[in-house]
Amino acid sequence: MIDGFIALYIFMLAAFVGYEVIGRVPSILHTPLMSGSNFIHGIVLVGAMVALGRADTTLELAIGFIGVFLGAGNAVGGYVVTERMLEMFKSSKEKDS
């Protein structure tokens, strides 16, 4: 169980990690990084799957289905566009070789 103060600790430490990881990023990577972090919250797919998996009533099933659909879109779309952008970042050495 993730409960009470343990949850709070996880929240605090993860927040620091997020802040530190981005702290020294050059501005040329802001757009890909925003896209990359957008992909990472695509983990919401996992939660939507659990929600749908436990749904009973028709209404819950419908909402759960929409949730999984949207979550999958977030994860897959976020990955595809981030990968496309980052694929193009090459230095002049790599160009020559």
Binding site: A14, A15, V21, I22, I28, G36, I40, H41, G71, S92
Partner: protein, 459 residues
């Protein structure tokens, strides 16, 4: 029972690995050298987390689940592969909105399920649902605006009062749900209110400010995911969501700072609505022919190119890179100077140049390149406007006063490739265009770049 427990540890261990992959992936993405590896690490984490979730105890509805994943995944894959690099910002907004919507959907299922979550987790569930719903509808509006589906910025007096009232109503409904376990109708009203709030918050904001707003919604979606992670007791969601929430907040601040706006300013006031009336610019714009520009650049020691979104719209980046290679082969030192908000988002211009094949080590940002302008023979401005306006440096009455700019006016010669005599996104006259050592090369960015290539070749 023991089998259940060991299954549970497999799932938890996989989520742990996924969280580590996300953090290291994000870390790698923050340097251009390792960035390409970063997204693949994070992608591996996502695959692990998704696959292991199928083993979650007490779940059903698998055919429905796989159908939803398939439809959502394929639609996103196809659209993501197809979208042009110039349209990237609105695509990010769209996928981000989907994530927010998914978080809201989780909250809805949990709230409708009737299970008592207790005060703390109940509060987190509605909060995550509310933030997710706001992020969902707000991101869709941002998408519509950048895509050009919605052109107007709807403003009316009392708009902020209305937003405040909506927020209060949403929070009140949320509190009622947590405390009194409202029925289906209350939950529906709650989500409708949150969705409307996202729309009314976003419609008054202009297109130029959208990147900051998208970044904000990105951070908010992260937070919503983390909150729903607490409700579902899912460590991967908590960690990934919180990391994105924090990183996204920082990124939002960096973007707002680069545009010389505070976040409050972006959200609550329209650009240029302040009374600031820019000083009249005196003098005239002096045109020049492509042949003269070609000579100027071909025999220069150092040329600095300042591209703007206009270059990308004209699809001129490939021609500009060809021109750069041509000049470099003649021994000219050519560098690209990128303003933090060039393009539609910070870093967007770098992506567009990278697409054309420009290596990132001849691309410099504002702090690195500004000291070099006084030694540059030619500053070639193509499709950029406000980011090179010296009024930002020396005209205290200008609306853009204080914004960091590229000091193109310090170069010995300034060439501006421009379609006509109009003003930039901010609608402010650019004092740079009227300087004595500035020449205007009128025409379409791509056509002019081609002409310059031909002229340089013929020298």
């Amino acid at each position: 029972m023991s089998e259940m427990i060991s299954m549970r540890s497999v799932i938890e261990a996989s989520y742990f690995i996924a969280a580590i992959l996300f953090i290291f992936g994000l870390k790698r993405m923050s340097s251009p050298v390792t960035a390409r590896g970063g997204i693949i690490w994070a992608g591996a984490g996502m695959v692990v987390a998704t696959l292991v979730t199928f083993l979650y105890p007490g779940m059903g509805n698998y055919p429905l689940m796989m159908t939803a994943i398939f439809i959502g995944g394929v639609a996103a894959w196809v659209s993501g592969k197809k979208v042009a690099m110039t349209d990237m910002p609105q695509m990010i907004a769209l996928y981000n909105g989907m994530g927010g919507g998914a978080a809201a959907a989780i909250a809805a299922v949990e709230l409708l399920g009737g299970e008592d979550h207790g005060l703390v987790f109940g509060t987190l569930a509605v909060l995550g649902g509310m933030i997710g719903a706001v992020s969902f509808s707000g991101s869709l509006i941002a998408f519509a605006k950048l895509q050009g589906i919605m052109r107007r910025n709807f403003r009316f007096s009392g708009q902020q009062v209305l937003n405040l009232l909506l927020l209060a109503a949403t929070v009140a409904t949320a509190a009622y749900i947590v405390l009194a376990h409202g029925d289906v109708n209350i939950v529906v009203i709650f989500f409708l209110l949150a969705l409307v709030l996202g729309v009314t918050m976003t419609v008054p904001i202009g297109g130029a400010d959208m990147p900051v707003v998208i970044s904000l919604y990105n951070a908010l979606t992260g937070l919503a995911v983390a909150f729903e992670g607490f409700v579902l007791q899912n460590a991967a969601m908590i960690i990934a969501g919180t990391v994105v929430g924090a990183a996204g907040s920082l990124l939002t601040q960096l973007m707002a700072k680069a545009m010389n706006r505070s976040l409050a300013n972006v959200l609550f006031s329209g650009f240029g609505e302040e009374d600031g009336q820019a000083s009249e610019v005196s003098g005239s714009m002096k045109p020049i022919e492509a042949a003269d520009v070609a000579v100027m650049m071909a025999f220069a020691n150092k040329v600095l190119i300042i591209p703007g979104y206009g270059m990308a719209v004209a699809q001129a980046q490939h021609k500009v890179w060809e021109l750069t290679q041509l000049l470099k082969s003649r021994g000219v030192d050519v560098k690209f100077a990128i303003h933090p908000v060039a393009g539609r988002m910070p870093g967007h211009m770098n992506v567009l140049l990278a697409e054309a094949g420009v290596p990132y080590d001849i691309i410099y940002d504002e702090d690195e390149i500004n000291p070099e302008f006084p030694t540059a023979d030619v500053a070639l401005i193509i499709g950029a406007n406000d980011v090179v306006n010296p009024a930002a440096r020396n005209d205290t009455s200008s609306p853009i006063y204080g914004m960091p700019i590229l000091n193109a006016d310090y170069a010995k010669n300034v060439i501006v490739i421009k379609r006509g005599q109009g003003t930039g996104f901010s609608g402010i006259e650019n004092a740079l265009f009227f300087l004595d050592h500035t020449r205007m090369l009128y025409g379409d960015g791509q056509a002019m770049a081609s002409e310059l290539i031909t002229e340089v070749k013929s020298l």
